[in-house]
Each structure stands twice: as C-alpha cells, then as structure tokens.
Amino acid sequence: MHELTAILNDIRPGQDFSKAKNFFDQGMLDSLDLTTLVSALEARFGVFIDVDEMVVENFCSLSAIESILTRKGIKV
C-alpha cells in the first residue's frame, strides 16, 4: 500500500491518498492523472491495463487499485 501512495504522491504531491473514498470525485486526481497513474503502475508492476479497463472505477481509491492489481496477479 505504501508503494501505491508513493506513486500517487509522485503524481500529485501533498495530498493524503490513504483515507480518500474516491480520488476523482474529491478532485484529487483528474482524467489526465489517470493516464499517468496507469503508466506508473504498469512500469512498476509490469502489468498491462487495457483500454476498457482504464476507467475511473478501477483507480478511484487504494482498494480499487489493489483489486485490479490482484486480478492481474500482483499483491501490493
């Protein structure tokens, strides 16, 4: 989980991602950040996230990100 918050803080420094319910609804990340986040996760964990998976629902919280990574065989 620390890794995820580190990646998120690299994109948007100074925000507390650990407690947020929905990064996008709360204005912590925007759609461009989503593309940056996906690239960072792919680079760090070696996963492939397809076009139809690049949706807000899969990345809107730490647990959502953890879920999609688990589905791809990565434990965070």
Binding site: L32, T35, T36, S39, A40, A43, V51
Partner: protein, 566 residues
C-alpha cells in the same frame, strides 16, 4: 514580444500540437533542474488556428517559448491519404503533402513573431503507421522519402529566421529503450506518446532552453586513471595502460577521448583533476601513441595528491569561472560523492560502470546546448592558453603598470552589428561579474532595442601582444534630452585586471557626449555576483546618492590604444 526576463521568473512555454501534450507540460514544469518553466498545453487539434490567429485565446498566457509538435499524418492531410496505399493517387498526394508542409512552415514563421523562440520537433511517423518497406523511399511516392523532404523543407524555410529551432525528434524516438508510442493512451485521451518519450522530449527541450538562457556548462573536469584510459598509470606504467586498439577496452577509452575532443572543438574547456604524479601523467598524455587528447587540448590541470574538491576550487579560480559552469567526470563513486557533497554547484553525473558506455554517456549530458557556435567558441581553448602566457609575463615583469604597458593592449570599438550580435548577446547573457544591469535579452530583443532612435550599443574587441581576446565588452546607453543613461555595461572576466573597463567607460562616456548628452548616469543593479561592476561604477560617482558619472574620474589608460570602427 517579451523584453526583460530575469532568472527568478519562470519562462512561459506554450505547447501546440495535434495530440494531447499535457503530460509534457507537467514534466517540463516538474523538473528541479534549471530553467524554471511555466508550461501551458493549448487544446489539441488547433494548430493552424493558433499559429495564424494572434487573437486566439491560447496566446493569452503570453508565452516566451512556443513548441509546435505535430504528427505528419494528422497535420498534413495528404500524408494521411498516402498512408492508405492508393498507389494510383500516390504521386499527387506526395506533391500535395509537400505543399502542405510549406503552408505549415509559413504558419510557424507567422507565429514566430509573437514569441522569443519557437521549437519545432521534426516530423516522425509513428512506427505503427509504417509503409511498404520496398517503396517507402521511392522518390515521388514513398512516405519516408516524403517526410525527409518535408523536414528539409522546414529546415530551409527556417534557416533565415533566427528564433526558430528545429529539434531532432527522430533522435528522441531512436534513443528510447521502451516504446515511444502508446496506442491505448491515444484511444483513451489522444495522448500519442509514451511517458518515456515525453520525458526525453522534456529533457531535450529544457537543455535547449538552458543554452538560450546562457546556463550551459563551460568546463569539463576529467579524472585520468580508468576515466581517460584503462588502468592506473602510477602502478601499471604507461605501456600497460588499456588505450587504443586492438584491446576492446582500449578502444572504448579512445572513443571516449574522441567524444571529449569534439566538445573541446566547439568551445567547451577541458581540464584534468587527477591523483597522480604530475610529470608521469603529463608525459603519458604527450607520449602515449594512442592518446587522442594531448596536453594542448587541456586549458588547466591539477595533478597532485590533494583533495579533488580543493583542486576544483583552485581550477575555478584559475579559470575565473563559477563552479556552476563545471562538470566533473570521474569513474570513482567515492570521489564523485565527495565532490557532490562539498561542491553542490558542480554537476557530477554518475558515469556508467562500463567504459564501453562512456562515449555514448557523454552525448546524453544535456548541459552543453548553446544558441550558436561562433568563432569565439571555436577558439576558446587557445584563448585560455594565451592567458597562461600573460600570467607568466606578469610574474616576470613584477610591476603592474610596466606589465600593462608591455601587453600592448588594443581595444577596437564598433557599433553593434548583425555580425557581432550572436557573440554580443552571448556575452550579455552569460556575464555575471562585470555586468552593470544584468539585463538578459535574446538576440532579436537586443537588436530591436539597439535599433531605436535614442539608443546606442557598442561592442569592444580586445587584443594584446599575446593574442586576441575577441569580443569581450558591450556598452549601451539611452539618451533623453541632455541626459544619457548607461543601460548595459558588460565585460568578460577574461580581461579583468587590465584596466580595460576604464577604456570601455571612457569610450562610452565620450560617445554619449558626442550625441549631445551633458550628464551620463548609470544605475547599477544589485545581483549576487556583480560586485566588481558595482564597485567600479561606485568609484566613478562624485556623489554616491546621485548616480552621475564624474568626468574627472574617467580616463582611457595611456597604456591602452583605443581604435574606433564606424
């Protein structure tokens, strides 16, 4: 058009393209390396609208630098058609694409008048848009052939426009180990390029901007053992060093020295800092048959057993250059760490572990970009060597005035001309110590300023019996009624300590009077390093509160010959 910019303000950059460039904007602003930027990505897909319409909202950010990064098949409609492989119509599409390239070039030229600088990455076709291998280079039909022509067309078109720079985007693509394109991101957000490519582009663009702003590095300090050659000369002996064919490792060091020699040729100063016996090291440099670099390629060296940081400080003093102009190359991680800790202003990149990568590594150091390479740059090393000659002469003569007289210094003053503009602007932007007002302008802004009716600008070339210092002085003033105000007064540290500044001021004051000024004023600006200029001017005011130059205190020294060109 922007006039004055100072290092404390972020330079405003506008990105215009036919794909989403926002990730690039973020990367450009994020870096902690100079210069500080404030980048705006215009909405994508409005390239011509923005270039041709000065009233487009994208211009409201008042950018100083414009980057126009387009994809050939998106901005040149005929390229898109060509890619569809309709061979019957290919020749017409080919010709049409060239006309469209011409139009694009003209639009960029139109926009170039609104900014200080335009950067245009060359056209590169995404690899997934590749064409038929056997046909793509055919004249008159092939896509690769067309793109090469189109890029050359832009190079031709921009040749006469000084503030447009074509950037080699093909190099960016070729240099990546990970893919340059991400079709998924394009589908989702019209982001064509991968983060790795954006990072490369951001680093390259910043390097170009550093060059424009005079922040490029000037000096490379090299270690010797296992940096310029394989082995330790003190232990192994010169004959056992790995340097030169047929040993592959020896060839790597030769490649590295060859790359360094290229830097020396274009005006970067090479120096040595090595823990070694000086005479052994120098004789190896002069006599080893495979050495590419010889003693006269270096302007200074510290080869001794002292601390490297102390030696670097010494070198900086000898060359009269700030440590922030220095790059330190050493194979030893311990030496690098020590210098980084003690002298944080010095750039200390990590060298690759393998010498086979030394030469390529040198080309990735993005700190030597320059706005242009002029005669001064090409002769810089020789000039520094001439300075050694002068210092030795001083030691011999003992008396400073005698020494000055013996130098036979001649100053040639001339009004600022197109031919001297590149070097004059370089001097204006790079000089920190003997600089009155620390004004930083680019070439076109400075030229335009000097062309105004009540403004004058002069350049000064200095020679002495040892050699030619080149264009080392710049003075400008503005006249209002009977009062002249010295705006720029810049002198290269190369000629400090020879009373040349007295001659320059004398000439400037005389020129101001010649156009009718009765009073000559000067307003020193307080900067972190321009104490020499401020002290000099302070000594010329009779009343410290009134910055008016006292004519009695201005005299062209009798030992200096002043010549004037009209």
């Amino acid at each position: 058009m922007t006039d004055i910019r100072t290092e404390s303000n972020a330079r405003r950059v506008l990105l215009v393209g036919d794909t989403t460039l926002d990730p690039l904007a973020r990367m450009l602003d994020k870096g902690s390396d100079a210069p500080r930027l404030q980048t705006f990505a215009a909405p994508y897909g409005q390239v011509y609208q923005i270039l041709l319409d000065a009233n487009h909202s994208a211009w409201s950010v008042r950018p100083e630098t414009l980057v126009v990064w387009t994809v050939p098949h998106l901005t040149l409609p005929s390229v898109k058609k060509l890619l569809l492989c309709n061979f019957a119509s290919a020749p017409e599409e080919y010709d049409a694409a060239l006309r469209e390239a011409e139009q694009f070039g003209e639009a960029v030229v139109a926009a170039s008048e609104r900014v200080c600088q335009v950067l245009v990455p060359t056209w590169v076709l995404p690899t997934h848009e590749r064409w038929i291998q056997t046909l793509t280079w055919r004249h008159g039909v092939g896509v690769s052939n067309l793109l090469a022509k189109a890029n050359l067309l832009l190079a031709d078109k921009f040749a006469a426009i000084e503030n447009i720079v074509l950037l080699d985007a093909a190099y960016w693509h070729a240099s990546l180990e990970r893919p340059a394109y991400d079709p998924r991101m394009y589908a989702v957000a019209k982001i064509l390029y991968s983060p790795q490519l954006f990072e490369k582009a951001a680093a390259e663009i910043k390097a170009v901007l550093r060059g424009t702003l005079g922040l490029a590095k000037k000096v490379i300090v090299c270690d010797l053992d296992n940096t310029l050659w394989g082995g330790v000369v003190g232990d192994d002996g010169a004959q056992n060093l790995k340097l030169g064919a047929p040993d592959p490792l020896g060839e790597c060091f030769v490649a590295f020295q060859t790359a360094l020699k290229a830097f020396r040729s274009r005006g970067i100063l090479l120096t040595i800092c090595s823990k070694n016996d000086e005479s052994l090291a120098l004789s190896t440099i002069e006599e080893h048959p495979a050495m590419i670099l010889r003693k006269n390629d270096f302007v200074a060296w510290r080869i001794n057993w002292k601390d490297k940081a102390e030696n670097l400080l010494n070198l900086a003093e000898e060359l009269n250059l700030g440590l922030e102009s220095f790059v330190f190359l050493d194979d030893s991680p311990q030496e690098r760490d020590q210098v980084r800790q003690i002298l944080p202003q010095v750039y200390v990149p990590d060298m690759p572990a393998s010498p086979s990568l030394f030469a390529p590594f040198l080309t990735t150091l993005n700190c030597f970009e320059t706005q242009g390479v002029g005669k001064e740059d090409l002769e810089r090393t020789a000039m520094y060597q001439a300075e050694r000659g002068r210092k030795e002469a001083l030691d011999l003569s003992g008396d400073v005035d005698n020494w000055l007289g013996s130098l036979q210094i001649e100053v040639r003053a001339a009004p600022l001309r197109r031919e001297s503009l590149v070097r004059a602007t370089q001097l204006l932007n790079k000089t920190n110590q003997f600089n009155l007002s620390l004004r930083r302008l680019d070439e076109s802004a400075f030229w335009n300023w000097s062309a105004e009716p009540n403004h004058s600008a002069y350049t000064f070339n200095v020679t002495d019996r040892f050699g030619d210092f080149g264009l080392v002085g710049l003075a400008s003033f503005a006249v209002t009624g009977s009062e002249a105000r010295i705006v720029d007064f810049v002198m290269s540290c190369r000629v400090m300590g020879k009373k040349v500044e007295e001659a320059l001021l004398g000439y400037t004051v005389n020129s101001a009077r010649a156009v009718g000024a009765e009073q000559v004023m000067a307003s020193p600006v307080e900067g972190p390093r321009n104490q020499p200029a401020r002290s000099f001017f302070a000594s010329k005011f009779s009343n410290p509160d009134v910055a008016s130059i006292d004519p009695i205190r201005v005299l062209i020294p009798p030992q200096i010959t002043m010549k004037e060109e009209s």
